[in-house]
Symmetry: D2
Subunit: 338 residues, 4 copies
């Protein structure tokens, strides 16, 4: 089969190669999936650039965690799926339900664990989910990392209630899903961006208050104004320490900050003092469990949510897709179709 | 002032009298409210008929728990409100936040605790809430009992997540609010009624699956069909033991039944066995705390929810309003305007 | 290997036979365990008597869910255990973590799913847990059903806090574990029994208030006295509808009743009205997940808890062990040693 | 009456004066308490030194939040207490139950809100609690700030389960209460101190693993060793940013850090990255609600916990008590008796 490989020690896109690999087979408990679409996350760029932890690019690896396709063969003992089923990958191996566990931290597309940027992939049947009815493969391929992260942040860690206010930072993949979910959950959304055009688009999707953080660098004050001084109840914090200090000012009493933060890296430091007086909290988020994925799919179906796809690239132009991600002009998800 | 009184030992509407009472005054920590609208709940009919517990109609009492009006005087030490504020009553005295407590069970409009069917009423400032912006007094007067009950059931006891399925029984005040809230929260709603017309109306408000329980007396089977055999995640059970046995069949694994049940009384008995296999639960609900009311008001505001008012009666025709409630032809709330 | 079988259509112990079976082998993902000890639960008696659901005794089955032993072989792909590890079975197949699910309801020792009353047994490696350090096999064999049930009731459904009061009914396997756990958690325990001798023994294990329900048939009034009229915070309700009506009187505001109830069967009916006023709840409990088992084992280890074993029978006298269970004179668990 | 006053703009103990004040009276809803004992917290030293926020020492204030005494008069409308009741103060005004709220942040003994270092004090009846049966006034006076903080950290924010591991830093007032509570809850305790003598004392109170952080400055590695590499489930983090970086290494998957941290101040900064991979969280803690106090008192009573009192000073030597606190040689609480 054809597959892309991130070479060991990869530092840039020049180290990503299109290669021929043996066709995989479904062993005991496994399913063989013909991949029909994949999507890119910021993490995938970090893997290629050698920035995603020391081990992430130490091995030759088929990249990307997010894939969708159809089951074309099943191994012995598989009852969860049958040939012809439409499935998506889960980001982690073996995190089925419950809180994060040390023994369920193998993720696809890094550190020698092959991902889905290939014609076929094999998954343990436990590590795939049915895709929401009516979804195309392109749409389904956007879900495993960014959407599950947003869902985990809002519904598990944030436990956001209808009527509460959520702050979203920027319009990357996680934030746009968070906007759709928060809106469906009856929450109020305050959203920041550096682009008035993106703010307008977010408004059309239901964002209630909009802040251009280029024009208003101390945006936390605007957030407080937009909430009558009370601060927000939940923040999907994708900015990292660079924005975290402002987020801790913007959060209200008993507020919850879901810390994702790959985008701005984690070079800075910050002082957590503002949490104390307000009884607020910061929660590390790392994608989510299979149960979160399935619960999210139910919410997507009931609320008729469709992922926002910025652009679809053919498999042959996967490198272009990475470049488009890096340009940071996108709104929503970047998909590669096979 | 003019007020209605339920006479001690009341058995019927004949025992409800329009009387003249001294004008009340706001003492320390209290607010004096000019009542502008009240609403009726099934409980109020039970009080008049001597069916709401042995003590409820043992005393002469101004009836009704649900009132809205404007603050026209405040007592010493009040900082929570000022003259001119628009407020609604809370159902209980002193249940401000946290779980139900034995020492916060005094409710308005029964057992000698005067309610709001009068020109003026005095509340401890702690026992009133600001009404949602843009609400008329008639709209605000629908909230204290039925809406808070529905909110408590869905968001606290039910902890309903977007994408989950909620079963509502009938189209009384609690159920119609629950429909609006569940819809705003991104949940799927299955609703039963004996009237196709009411089912149609519920559908137009967002109900996803509809069951006429007159035509389908074993409606629990229809609920299972409507959920691919899985059962529902939460039931707002207003029917009491008469419907509870069916509800326990209709609820799914880890499902939660919020037991309200005044309407059908509680004469029957039932066997809770179906809860065991499914890990399901039944939770007694008795209106809710002030914090629930305030959280609900935020959700109402963010989601632009408007109470469904069946009919508004003038103060002089309050007895007619009771009769209309008893006829059970209404959809939504019955309001008395002052 | 030697094994006991419950014959299809079993109605009594006469239908339990000692037979020869082929030695099992560990397939992909499986472990082969030499069983060293098993324990009996009330459920196992019901299976033999054809009372545990229509399907439970429809098939020829090796009975008992609770076994402990050593891993003597592992199949391909197993990393969770190695040869020589000491393990216990989990009651359910594939309920690893999270809330109860419809697709994780296969349990050992009923309905054609072979249990552990045999020299060897094969488990999927996911469906076994390491036994607590320092435990004998006899001790470990007491845990999978009764102890996990008690843990589930107190820590998950009951969410019992130090300082809260727990009511335990009788001194069967679940209640005795619940006594040990509740005591270790800093809760206060009220315990009922028909035997003063058993009450004394419970007292020596930390029970704080004792009620002989034979002498005091309306024991719920004693429970209220023992709690200054407030009622208890959590009840591990093993009595079923026969005692549930009293439990609903004995439970306090916001109290939780964990419904287990196999012992008294479920023939009666009851009226859930008392739940409403108090905001109390009833939760069906059916053993628990692997995560609950592992969390419980940690608590057992930290607190130096040892299971109370009533009596140990040799494998050859397994039928006697069943008879001893039926006699109901035991205090704690009945074990069969291989 | 006699009272101590912290003078406006206080910078040191020289600014604390013993003065004569008019005897206070109980107004509507208030109780007059003859103070019999008070206790010191680190915060009280900060108030005197002008380090507890800009406003804390801007006004002339009777210091100390923690007092116990007997009710000697009640104002109109008080039903919660009667003359002769033994009560303790709550740290905050009007935080009765539920999550932290912006409108319940007035605390005793700072910023012009008179505290309890005086012969008499007046409280709103809502802002006092009954002291645990059998407690002396000295014992009761240790509870309002440090003990409630420890309880909030372990049971609300930490939601610590029996069998989980708790890390305590040092042996100040909060840590020693946390040791007693964690032990009573069935948790395992790892405790650090700079003094082997204090470690020994902690061991005798139930601490399971001990680390001298003077001898082992990178104590987080010892914590990991003491937990087989898993890290701890909950940390009562009283050290502030100076220790927080190590705490984030020492916490395990899904672990919770309760951030209190007054002792080391909050001058440093830190990088929250380790939270992400592990799904761990940091929660700001600021004492707690009246409900937490009452729940804690129940746990204290059921488990026979007695506060560890380092030393009791007479009222006339209150300044010496402050000096003793500053010396940091104490183990447990410093009390002033009236």
């Amino acid at each position: 089969m054809k597959a892309y490989e991130v070479q060991a020690g990869s530092k840039s896109l020049a180290d990503v190669k299109l290669v021929e690999r043996p066709d995989p087979k479904a062993g005991h408990g496994e399913i063989l999936v013909r991949i029909r679409a994949t999507s890119l996350n910021f993490r995938d760029q970090m893997v290629v650039e050698g920035m995603y932890g020391p081990a992430a690019s130490a091995f030759k690896t088929i990249p990307l965690s997010d894939g969708a396709g159809e089951v074309i063969a099943i191994g012995a003992g598989v009852t969860r799926f049958k040939v012809g089923d439409r499935v998506a990958s889960t980001f982690f191996h073996d995190w089925l339900d419950g809180p994060p566990r040390a023994d369920a931290r193998v993720s696809l597309g890094a550190a020698g664990v092959d991902g889905v940027l290939s014609e076929y992939a094999v998954f343990n049947a436990q590590n795939a989910v049915a895709i929401p009815p009516g979804f195309t493969f392109e749409e389904a391929a956007t879900l495993p990392c960014a959407a599950v992260t947003a869902w985990h942040a809002l519904t598990v860690v944030g436990a956001v209630r209808a009527g509460e206010t959520v702050l979203l930072i920027g319009t990357g993949g996680v934030s746009v899903f968070a906007l759709q979910f928060a809106h469906a959950m009856g929450a109020r959304v305050v959203l920041t961006s550096s682009s008035d055009e993106k703010l307008e688009r977010a408004k059309s999707m239901g964002a209630n208050a909009l802040i251009n953080y280029k024009r208003t660098p101390d945006w936390e004050k605007e957030v407080l104004k937009a909430t009558d001084g009370r601060g927000v109840d939940c923040i999907v914090e994708v900015g990292g320490p660079g924005t975290l200090a402002r987020s801790m000012e913007a959060v209200g009493f008993a507020g919850r900050i879901a810390l994702i933060g790959a985008v701005a890296g984690f070079q800075g430091e910050t002082n957590p003092r503002p949490l104390m007086r307000k009884g607020a909290s910061i929660h590390g988020i790392f994608v989510g469990s299979r149960a979160m994925f399935e619960n999210m799919s139910a919410a997507i179906e009931v609320n008729g949510i469709k992922p926002v796809i910025d652009r679809v690239f053919p498999f042959a132009e996967a490198i272009e897709a990475y470049r488009h991600l890096k340009s940071a002009v996108h709104f929503g998800k970047i998909v590669i179709r096979l």
